[in-house]
Symmetry: C2
Subunit: 370 residues, 2 copies
Amino acid sequence: MFEFSLLQSASTGTRGRVGMITTSHGAIHTPCFMPVGTQGTVKAMTPEELKLLGAEIVLSNTYHLYLRPGHERVKKLGGLHRFMHWDRPILTDSGGYQIFSLADLRRSFTDDGVEFQSHLDGGAKHFLSPEIAIEIQEALGSDIMMVLDECTPYPASEPTARTSMELSLRWAKRCLSARKSQNALFGIVQGGMYPHLRKEYIESLESNFDGYAIGGLSVGEPKDMMLGMVDVCTQSLPHDKPRYLMGVGTPEDILDAIDHGIDMFDCVLPTRNARNGELFTSTGDIRIKGAEYTDDNRPLDESCTCETCRHYSRAYLRHLAMANEILYARLATLHNLHLYIDLLRRARVSLEENGFPEFKRQFFEQRRSR
Amino acid sequence: MFEFSLLQSASTGTRGRVGMITTSHGAIHTPCFMPVGTQGTVKAMTPEELKLLGAEIVLSNTYHLYLRPGHERVKKLGGLHRFMHWDRPILTDSGGYQIFSLADLRRSFTDDGVEFQSHLDGGAKHFLSPEIAIEIQEALGSDIMMVLDECTPYPASEPTARTSMELSLRWAKRCLSARKSQNALFGIVQGGMYPHLRKEYIESLESNFDGYAIGGLSVGEPKDMMLGMVDVCTQSLPHDKPRYLMGVGTPEDILDAIDHGIDMFDCVLPTRNARNGELFTSTGDIRIKGAEYTDDNRPLDESCTCETCRHYSRAYLRHLAMANEILYARLATLHNLHLYIDLLRRARVSLEENGFPEFKRQFFEQRRSR
């Protein structure tokens, strides 16, 4: 089951939208942020904590789960929801992004699919095709599956971007034909930084996908170029389907993309940066290992209501980080995810109240105030 | 503030006792298990989780906190309770055990105290004396402080054990004189594996300590010898003070020691072993990385009521462990600590109900059943 209701799409000074996705595992209010749970767990968090933070959906990585513990095993154990004890919706990627982007992976690809070697299992050979990508995601029991695509690198010449886009288009159609389940399936718009290629993809794709992701962005291009491509895509995409900007981004990037009509986001920034000592706050970012926090008895973010900010000082967080304590990763991840999920919630409210442009302006200004 | 009420000391077939310690940070029901929070955090756990598990007191390590972040800093930041967000009692060791036992630490000691070099701060020299050990523990704001002692190695000749015991005795008295606070202070009985030396220590020590720890056990001696020494000590120690067996042990060790009249325990086994993949269950121990758990959809321990056992399968825990996920360390630690704290709770109840010997027999039998 998958339904998208566009609740609000016209608002002064923005193309931002408010919507709701309904799945058999529950509803997702959009715009939404999806925490990344690469290996069947959002690193350092329990599902209960994610729910308390307000997460309505998580993303999990097909590539990692295919290799370990294996999608057939997850299926036998009752599916990914039961395996990881998460009863809300799950979106899975197709596995393609990891295969194309992991630097030390040997791979060779044809129109049929891609053969690759993983280092996890001693260099055994694996093969991924559009049909297999769907089979794996159906075995996992994903609520929202993604088509297999090729993420066009940046920069790429127009002929290269065209070849890549056309391959992704053929693969997207094969994914649609391969689907045996009721699970939702999203297409992924490619086309590099060429507006006409992006439009061509969107026009060529049959309209019976449940939603549309925009791929191949945030791959090194200037931010203006990224937003320009987002704009090209959201202008052309059907209004009644959710739009998902893959792998983006900073809090500012997300507000900008909402402004251009994006509904769904995922990004490793809040979780990965937390573990690396980078904490997002309402007044700017903090590198918690800095010596200036050694004796700082204030909370990370004085206006934040998360558990971390209510109970612990910067000095304690720094101590835990310096001592490589697991509790550091927990408290830092909790805080960063709280900021992201709360930001999306506040963005939704401001859209509903016709105040998004002012909300965004104030947020940007405050973030520069440190 | 420190009070100990011996609520029950006579029961059929056991020397086990039931009591209650009252401190200004709350009560501790004995026999009790104290989770170890070496660096101002019980690894992988939040204080809220420890409370939900029923932990009434934690242990923290003076040596580690002295070196990082520093006891004066902790004091300025409001004391250890505030620093680590734990408002229940804290027991601190004296720092001596780490200095004497860390293999790669350079040290030289005299009657005055011990000089040592730490690798944490580039080999800077530090000095610890009985007076400084108390000063540090008072700065941390410990509810129960321990005297500085020398942990006699095993095996040790009688003259060596005597010299060591006499040094510990002189240091214990100096600690008592150095105390400026109302914080409780425990003596630590040394004397190696020589009953007369243990008795001599106990008789020589003035009776105005708040409790008595038994040190220098579980250092490689046979288990019978350990229990024999525990017996010698608990027979000689004053009845109206709590007895604490330091660093012990397995669930079986703990029940045996309760049987011999011990009231308090600490041990890294449940937390450290959890992180290393060793899980305690009511029917024996599990090495979760074993291939036999790959497809095992059962909970870790079918009779356990902890969050881990209620929500996650062995197959999932194994997957998390193999993938080095932080959530593994969390769920494993939670389970092992639940088993320990619940074991102590059940031991208390069985003592109160005059059924400890049968409880212990059944627990041992079930643990051998796997």
